[in-house]
């Protein structure tokens, strides 16, 4: 668990004091992935870097698992907090395996144990150790380097991981793969993660909690659904974007809607994999034959049904997304063909 209590970071300069972070308080619970998001200069990176003391907080208290970080040895603190940065921040002169086993090496593990741990983690991040362990970072693609960066953060089994725009430097397709992959990994390892990004899609896709920052302060701190349904201010609304709601559905997975399992799955039951997005499931449902049940079953990763969603719930979520989509279209993207001559001229000029 990570707790920030009234934390402020001030940079002093000749031109006056600059408050990069102002009176920020929040808690990230164990096993939770919290996304720090905001425009550039909002203080999100500085906030994250104060947690492993790469930046020193000017005032306020930061504690990790109940201990004030200033009471801990800074080197020890960092060795017990995983850290991932853009492009992985891999050491170019270390092999992939050596990079992964870096913190174990600093902690004094013997060579054999380090190697075994590195291979185990490479397998976890879907990189075949037989192929990649002895390569050097520059022989890997950007996406692969990023995975090695994540593997390195997991190597010493730190309960907490800080990620600073880890997928910012890869192409959109790879980024999407990495995001889905991280969800998967997080489901297995359940770390407490603070994830910095400026990409709202990424925030909704990955975050259990989203902390939106502006000018060094928190604009809203809540679940993705909170931000969508009850934005705290116009800034939050604007930042999320009107067109975003339907997109948000793409990042909402059926498993998240599932209610407790209804036992005795009938033979004719419709079973939808839990990792399908809502639009994907919607297509699946419309193509399926009607079964006479009032909902469908949700399968876990092993294909076994372990949850249930009623059609009513599903329709509600779907219509929420579509409603905001229509609103957005009415507001922003008026089709010029539908307008009169005069209005069209106006629309073109504005």
């Amino acid at each position: 668990m990570i707790t920030l209590d009234n934390v402020t970071k001030t940079y002093k300069s000749a031109a006056g004091d600059f408050h990069a972070v102002r009176n920020v308080s929040f808690t990230v619970n164990e096993g939770e992935l919290a996304v720090l998001i905001g425009p550039s200069g909002s203080g999100k990176t500085t906030t994250m870097r104060m947690i492993n003391r790469l930046e020193k907080a000017t005032s306020g208290t930061i504690s990790v698992n109940g201990q004030d970080i200033n009471s801990l040895n800074v080197v020890e603190l960092r060795r017990h907090i995983g850290y991932v940065i853009q492009q992985g921040g891999l050491l170019p002169h270390f092999t992939v395996a050596e990079n992964v086993a870096l913190v174990p090496r600093l902690l004094g593990w013997d060579k054999k144990k380090r190697r075994a741990r590195a291979e185990e983690l490479l397998a976890l991040v879907d990189l075949d150790p037989a192929i990649y362990a002895d390569r050097f970072p520059r022989q890997l693609s950007g996406g692969q380097q990023q995975r090695v960066g994540v593997a390195r953060a997991l190597a010493a089994d730190a309960p907490i991981i800080l990620m600073d725009e880890p997928f910012g430097a890869v192409d959109p397709i790879t980024r999407n793969q990495l995001q889905r992959w991280l969800r998967q990994v997080q489901r297995d390892v359940r770390k407490t993660i603070v994830f910095v990004t400026h990409d709202i899609n990424e925030a909704f896709l990955l975050g259990d909690r989203i902390i939106l920052m502006k000018d060094g302060q928190i604009a809203q701190n809540g679940s993705p659904a909170d931000l969508l349904r009850t934005p705290a201010s116009d800034f939050v609304k604007e930042f999320i974007g009107d067109e975003f709601a339907l997109q948000a559905l793409e990042h909402t997975y059926i498993a998240e809607l599932a209610r407790p399992f209804v036992p005795d799955v009938p033979d004719d039951a419709l079973v939808i994999p839990g990792d399908m997005s809502i639009p994907e499931a919607s297509r699946e449902i419309t193509q399926a034959e009607s079964t006479g049940h009032d909902g469908f079953w949700v399968a876990n990763d092993n294909g076994e049904p372990d949850g249930y969603v009623t059609y009513e719930d599903f329709a509600n979520v779907l219509s929420e997304g579509i409603a905001s989509e229509v609103e957005a279209e009415e507001a922003d993207t008026i089709d010029p063909e539908l307008l009169g001559e005069e209005e069209r001229a106006h629309a073109v000029h504005s």
Binding site: N52, L54, V75, E76, L77, R78, R79, H80, Y83, I85, Q86, Q87, G88, G89, L90, L91, P92, H93, F94, T95, L102, V103, L106, F136, R138, Q139, R152, L162
Partner: protein, 213 residues
Amino acid sequence: MRYILDNPEKVLDLTWDHIQLVGIAILIASAIGIPLGILINRVRWLQLPVLNLSGVLYTVPSIAFFAILIPYTGIGKTTAIYALAVYSLLAIVRNTAAGMDEVDKATKDAADGMGMTKLQRLRMVELPLALPYILTGIKIATVAGIGIAVIAVVIGGGGLGRLVFDGIRTQEANPVLAGAIMSVLLAFIADFGIGRLALLFRRDLRASAERGS
């Protein structure tokens, strides 16, 4: 060539002398220059004064420098070695500092974030990554030093300068040529060899070199 083949023992002896002269000077210069380069990378305000001072020392003509040193260190090898070391300092300090500056900020940030101590970061990350630059500095200093050391004979430094100056005195071209050829040969070997030392320490560079990229 003829001269070298006729007097192999003398030529080889003097060449060995020359190697020792330059080698010891470079060792001393590295022992002072590399830490100094690291220091001015860490303590920014020292950068300008240190580089300027070693730059000024570098511009003093070598003969004058020998003359200045004689009252303190006398005539002989020691003086020659000190003078050569001072000349080598600039290239080594400057290249060490440049190499340290070149280490990617993100890499250093990662090293800190992983929980390396300052010393571990220096030893495991910064020095290995700056190594090619440091070796370039040593290479430049060595090649220049091999040339300058020829003059060291005027203060009794020995080395290949003996052949050159003896030749001039007796108005014989052959020893002069022999001295020149051997010194060029040494410089050539140093130039080729020192650059490749990085491959010994950096497996990643070796891997790239083997792939031919």
